[in-house]
């Protein structure tokens, strides 16, 4: 069966006044129907840009080149404006990070939902209204008919995100991309929203791409995880396997920096990955993670590292052997101590 979304060798170049940036280099991704793919990485890793490329929403200055970007078998490269407008909101929808600003404050949420719906479906205003309210209920928005008539500023952040999710499902899309859907919300609401997404995905079979910087968030909801660093995929594999035994040092670093109660003794410093994500200016001439990697060796700095398959479903971009026994969580503590000095 054709995968829902296939990205092969995606590269994005952006020409600014000062430099040519290369924020995305050689990204490969696959999403099967009805599955959830989580893209994880720090800010600056390029995960949002990848999503924007799938939606065709990159700024004019960005040049996209790829061997293939195929949605349901059909290429998304070089589509006209009109073709894009028929896909966006209908077959592929996207929800963004900040629900406070995602909706137009001058119009009621009902008006905005109906406008988006009638863009893609021939419906009377009454039919559209009924459909929209039904979807608000699916997204567990209480008093849906009442909320339909309200303005965005009258709703709380969590409620707004539910509205946004409802809106994204109106045309029964095949693919839903959620870019940091819970980052701007309270921790208690985060769990609710993620559960909502998981339930919706199970019920409707929509393909879900979940983008987040918080690897802890994806454990229960993702089928596969792609870890991105500096515009490249550094590890890719089934969620459970990857989380249980991360192979790439960066993934390992991310996991050890999650403060899990009980794992870190009281009074001990929290884990983190020393250093910062490098700016996306040059084509990498070595492993992109080398400057921050506690396992680094001379070979790492000599040449760029290719993504290699560990088995059918798992891949990583590292020259270390794919053997969990060669990884040692202690190195992180040591590296943190070094930089603290």
């Amino acid at each position: 069966m054709t995968p829902l979304l296939e990205i092969r060798n995606l590269n994005i170049d952006i020409a600014t006044d000062h430099a040519r940036l290369k924020p995305i280099i050689g990204v490969d991704l696959t999403l099967e129907r009805g599955k959830t793919l989580a893209i994880v990485g720090e800010s600056g890793s390029g995960k949002s840009l990848t999503a924007m490329a799938v939606m065709g929403l990159l700024p004019r200055r960005a040049q996209v080149s790829a061997q293939a970007i195929r949605f349901d078998g059909k290429s998304l490269l070089g589509l006209s404006d009109r073709e894009w407008r028929s896909i966006r909101g209908d077959r592929i929808t996207m929800i963004f990070q900040d629900p406070m600003t995602a909706l137009d404050p001058c119009y009621t949420i009902g008006a905005q939902m109906v406008e988006a719906l009638r863009q893609h479906r021939p419906m009377s205003p009454a039919q559209a209204r009924a459909h929209a309210i039904r979807l608000l209920e699916t997204a567990r928005v209480p008093d849906s008919a009442e909320r339909f008539r309200q303005y965005p500023h009258q709703l709380s952040g969590g409620l707004r995100q539910r509205v946004v999710i409802a809106m994204s499902l109106m045309c029964e899309p095949d693919l839903l991309i959620a870019d940091e859907p819970t980052t701007a919300l309270d921790v208690t609401i985060q769990a609710q929203i993620l559960q909502l997404l998981a339930d919706i995905q199970k019920a409707s079979g929509v393909g879900l791409i979940l983008i987040t910087h918080d690897i802890g968030v994806v454990a229960s909801i993702a089928d596969d995880i792609a870890v991105m660093y500096r515009g490249q995929i550094v590890e890719y594999g089934p969620a459970q396997a990857l989380l249980a035994a991360p192979l790439h040092p960066y993934t390992e670093g991310l996991l050890q920096s999650i403060p899990i109660p009980g794992r870190v003794a009281r009074g001990q410093p929290l884990g983190y990955i020393p250093g910062i994500v490098p700016p996306p200016i040059e084509t990498p001439k070595s492993c992109v993670f080398a400057p921050r990697c506690p396992y680094v060796s001379a070979a790492c700095r000599a040449a760029p590292v290719a993504l290699r398959s560990v088995d059918e479903t798992h891949a990583m971009r590292c020259i270390l052997p794919p053997d969990p026994s060669t990884r040692n969580a202690e190195v992180w503590t040591r590296a943190q101590a070094e930089t603290a000095r």
């Binding site: 939606m55 929403l57 404006d81 894009w84 407008r85 028929s86 896909i87 966006r88 909101g89 209908d90 929808t93 996207m94 963004f96 900040d98 600003t101 995602a102 909706l103 137009d104 404050p105 001058c106 119009y107 406008e115 988006a116 863009q119 893609h120 303005y151 500023h153 946004v164 809106m167």
Partner: protein, 305 residues
């Protein structure tokens, strides 16, 4: 919303009161208004007659009180020169200035807003640079000069349009352009910057993400936000135009309020001057009030305040 309206009205009322005091007392800067009105060849008895007739012998605050009382009853005094009630004279001259002002504003908006939107849609391209050039050029020319230039090119050389009097609607075209273009740069720049911001906003991104047509995105979701400060600015500009119409009316020989003000100043027809200052200031206060209320209507978030 009601609280907002009442508070704004109160402030406006206070402003109008102070402005009326200024409008009233400005003409007294000459020292003796009776002397000014009587003119150069007047005899002492003429001056005295004017003084008692117009009550200049009373204390200032009494005169002011009487004046306000009259104004509130619709009586703007009596023109010494034209021997007719001021309100009647103003009523004759006002429609021309009003037509001129509104046409000028309409011209400015019809030119600036589309230019501003286009410039924002294609920043740093040819259309943007043209719009910017128009803006820069427009601000550098005094209105009287532009008016004369228009007269020369379109009136004298090409003979397309009349350039004096107010015989037909065509007579208003050149004056409207001359009066309105000075507002064009500032309106266009504001539209452009407002649109640039609006087009970057998250909710426009959402609209695009739902495949809405460019027209919808630009007009309904972007322009609607960008237009708010432009409306307030337009009201202000209309106020300026009403105040500055005196120059255009002189250049194009139109007998509007500005022209009336001009002749009254020359003849020291003080009652008319006071009345015109008051009316134009009140109109301006009214226009800014309308602009604020309109802003509140357009942005539901502001209604709460």
């Amino acid at each position: 919303m009601l609280r907002l309206v009442i508070r704004r009205l109160a402030v406006s009322a206070l402003v109008v009161v102070v402005v009326s005091m200024i409008a009233f007392s400005l003409v007294y800067l000459s020292g003796d208004p009776a002397v000014a009105m009587a003119g150069e060849n007047a005899s002492p008895s003429d001056i005295e007659a004017i003084r008692t007739d117009y009550g200049f012998d009373r204390p200032m605050y009494v005169q002011y009180g009487a004046w306000v009382d009259n104004v509130l009853h619709g009586n703007l005094g009596r023109s010494f020169f034209l021997r007719a009630p001021v309100s009647q004279i103003i009523a004759q001259h006002f429609p021309i200035t009003a037509t001129l002002g509104i046409s000028a504003l309409a011209f400015a908006l019809l030119l600036s807003i589309p230019l501003g939107v286009l410039a924002a849609l294609r920043p740093n391209t040819l259309i943007d640079r043209i719009a910017l050039a128009i803006a820069v050029a427009g601000q550098a020319m005094p209105s009287f000069l532009f008016g004369l230039a228009l007269i020369y090119v379109f009136g004298v050389k090409l003979g397309w349009l009349p350039f004096s009097g107010t015989a037909s609607w065509r007579s208003y075209v050149l004056p409207a352009i001359a009066l309105g273009y000075y507002a064009t740069p500032v309106i266009m720049r504001l539209t452009r910057s407002g649109m640039l911001d609006a087009l970057q906003s998250d909710h426009v991104r959402t609209a695009r993400a739902y495949g809405l047509s460019t027209w919808r995105v630009v007009i309904k979701h972007a322009l609607r936000h960008a237009i708010m400060p432009v409306l307030a600015l337009s009201a202000v500009q209309l106020g300026f135009m009403l105040g500055g119409s005196i120059i255009i009316e002189t250049v194009f020989s139109m007998k509007g309020l500005g022209y009336l003000a001009w002749t009254s100043i020359q003849r020291s027809d003080l009652q008319v001057i006071q009345a015109i200052l008051l009316i134009i200031a009140c109109l301006y206060a009214l226009l800014t009030l309308l602009a604020d209320l309109l802003n509140a209507y357009l942005d539901p978030r502001l209604r709460k305040q």
